[in-house]
Symmetry: C2
Subunit: 415 residues, 2 copies
């Protein structure tokens, strides 16, 4: 009988018919006895249309004015969804981000939410209204309209759920849940009934794309129970919570992959202690995001250093490094393009030392060369040739029998 | 060196190219040394598109949600114009109605402005910015987004000019000024250099359509010097002020006409005193707008009463009257459709008693029957057959030699 926050993305509200479909979904939850807050994105391609108009006027439009421009997209959707709900007899009221009390940093295009005042939301919910809030937007202390950046509507929904102490936050999307791997490419990929915040965070960061990492982080920090489910089909989605009660014995939860990775190797680093720190602070201050880092060292030779980055950032990384070669103190740079990352994620692996070895063995048995490796408590990432990416993901998916429900005991017996 | 408010309507900002054109216009005034506030409407057909989306969801969408929906149109334009100005090196900042301090009544779809707080506008102007304000919109005391109804952007511009004590308010539109009559239909119609508020008000009410009557009324109340000018051509427009200094001796300023008028005649009104009041209060409470009223009375017979209304309201008027026949106390109703109104407007006619007579004579000489007449201090309206409308307007236009600059002295000599 508590509050539920529902979030519908751009595809789910992409037409008048789909908005009507969403309205029916919302009414179902009201009929289940819940107070409902709905967060929506801009309709389908409308954001692209606005960006195109701006780009015809300027190659580099100001971020403030882009925020002013793009926030009209969500405002359009909230009004239309409210009209659709009222038409089927459901009292509803739409609110922009600032009306809903969403306050953000004074930053444009990627502001973070600093505070939510839910007073007005509670008043409207108490009067029997469904409240429809524009996702992706807020207002800073100077009454400037701001946006939350990519995945912003997910973050709006989770933040509102936290502020309202909602029972649940349901993210409706065009897929019906979180999968063990991308079902478009990996045979046997299946929907997970449950997953932990940390696992979801790794999968989100690894490009699974269902939920934005910031939203997952927010949900973890405020212990919001999230579900990811289909806005089209009436199926159970995936539950995301602190410790997944479902399939908790599964040692590996999913296989993620990401293409277009580059490897940069810095040879002959003179000062191992300061050089390492200087290189990564120089790259960071030039907005190059480094992922995996490997350092090799021998007693007799100078230190060599490799790291991986997104392919699109290679040019800038090379420029920054060569501009600072003297200061950083190294001999030369090598690089390799056309790589990809294949990762396994699962909170069960922390207590199963054989997991990484099993992944490497599966790959090497199938003649796939591993170029870099990185491990954390719940993740093993490998960098491979891009042409091997899907094959590698499929092999790993099968190696851990992710197409079946597979408890730790069985896996251990098999290993 | 003072502040100028410029207003550009939907056609003037209907495409990326036109927005660039507007940006150039704005920069011209900045280069003339002015601080400039620009008020814009939604782009061309964008409002129609939003209304269509809403109508697909509901035949009667709530006014509150329509305000939420439609205000996105102006918000889109302000952002795009700001981007266009910044692109050509002109510092600019966009503001929604509420950001610009425009407070309105708590009414949706046709709120009136109650207060403007220009603090933020002055701050931004003082920092060298052109400030672009979304027309047609404001916020009520409950932080609800409201709209000002038809002609709302004109009203926004005039109200801002008043609040900012601007030197001038320039209304840019797709015509290049106020004409003696509609140049599309009347041969010899020419642009007026100047016109008084009251004359403009009569012309606006009579369907000239260039400026909304509410905006003119506001300008009159706050003594705002208005100009109406072309957003496309670089020509002088028409100056609207308290007493027009230009051509002030012109006795008739313009000829307006409006088609689709109906006449309703109520025969045998029993109680002349209460009946008259009751009829018009009954019609008003049913939102039927009555225009010209004529009452005829003889000592021996019951009173008869005629009035004119828009053709589209005839059916409702007849229904309301026959529903209340017993209460109102009359014998029967007659009506006539297919009529039109032709009016002359000019503040000079108050001191020229022969003006109405000259109009009637010109019409009767040309065999045009006058069915109703109404006069005010600055206006004479006649109702004629709709098929005679343009001919009548042309004859009257020529009769007062409006194709030439015509001072009172010359007119008097001719009469």
């Amino acid at each position: 009988m508590g509050i539920i926050v529902q979030k519908f993305g751009g595809t789910s509200v992409g037409s008048v018919e789909r908005i009507q479909n969403v309205a029916n979904r919302v009414v179902q939850e009201v009929q289940n006895g819940h107070q409902v807050v709905v967060v929506v994105s801009a309709m389908g391609k409308s954001t692209d249309h606005l960006i195109k108009l701006a780009s015809e006027l300027s190659l580099k439009p100001s971020k403030r004015e882009m925020d002013m421009l793009l926030t009209t997209g969500e405002q359009t959707t909230i009004a239309l969804l409210s009209i659709a709900l009222q038409e089927i007899g459901q009292p509803a009221i739409s609110m922009t981000g600032w009306q809903a009390g969403i306050q953000t940093e004074s930053v444009h295009s990627k502001a973070r939410i600093t505070h939510i005042d839910p007073t007005k939301l509670h008043v409207e919910l108490g009067q029997g209204n469904v409240v429809i809030v524009a996702g992706f937007q807020g207002m800073d202390i100077n009454h400037e309209i701001t946006t939350l950046g990519r995945g912003g509507s997910d973050t709006t929904a989770v933040a509102l759920a936290a502020a309202l102490k909602a029972d649940r936050c349901d993210i409706y999307t065009d897929v019906d849940g979180v999968y063990t791997s991308d079902p478009r490419y990996i045979k046997g990929a299946r929907k997970l009934a449950g997953i932990s915040y940390d696992e979801m965070l790794e999968l989100a960061n690894l490009g699974a794309g269902v939920l934005h990492p910031r939203a997952v982080e927010f949900a973890k920090n405020y212990s919001i129970t999230l579900t990811v489910r289909s806005s089209i089909e009436q199926t159970e989605g995936t539950l995301i919570e602190e410790v997944s009660n479902l399939e908790q014995n599964l040692v590996v939860r999913g296989v993620a992959f990401e293409e277009d990775i580059a490897r940069v190797t810095i040879l002959g680093l003179e000062n191992e202690v300061t050089g390492l720190a200087n290189i990564f602070s120089t790259l960071a201050s030039n907005h190059v995001n480094v992922d995996i880092i490997i350092q090799s060292r021998s007693e007799v030779a100078l230190t060599n250093l490799s790291f991986s980055i997104k392919g699109g950032e290679l040019e800038e990384a090379l420029q920054v490094l060569s501009d600072n070669q003297d200061k950083l103190g190294f001999k030369r740079i090598e690089y390799e393009l056309g790589l990809a990352k294949v990762s396994i994620v699962g909170s069960g692996m922390v207590s199963n030392p054989g997991v990484a070895a099993q992944m490497f063995e599966a790959l090497s048995t199938n003649d796939i060369a591993i170029k870099m490796v990185s491990t954390s408590e719940i993740k093993v990432s490998t960098v491979v040739d891009q042409r091997d990416m899907l094959k590698a993901a499929q092999i790993v998916h099968e190696s851990f029998s992710l197409e079946e429900l597979q408890p730790v005991a069985a896996l251990a017996a098999k290993a």
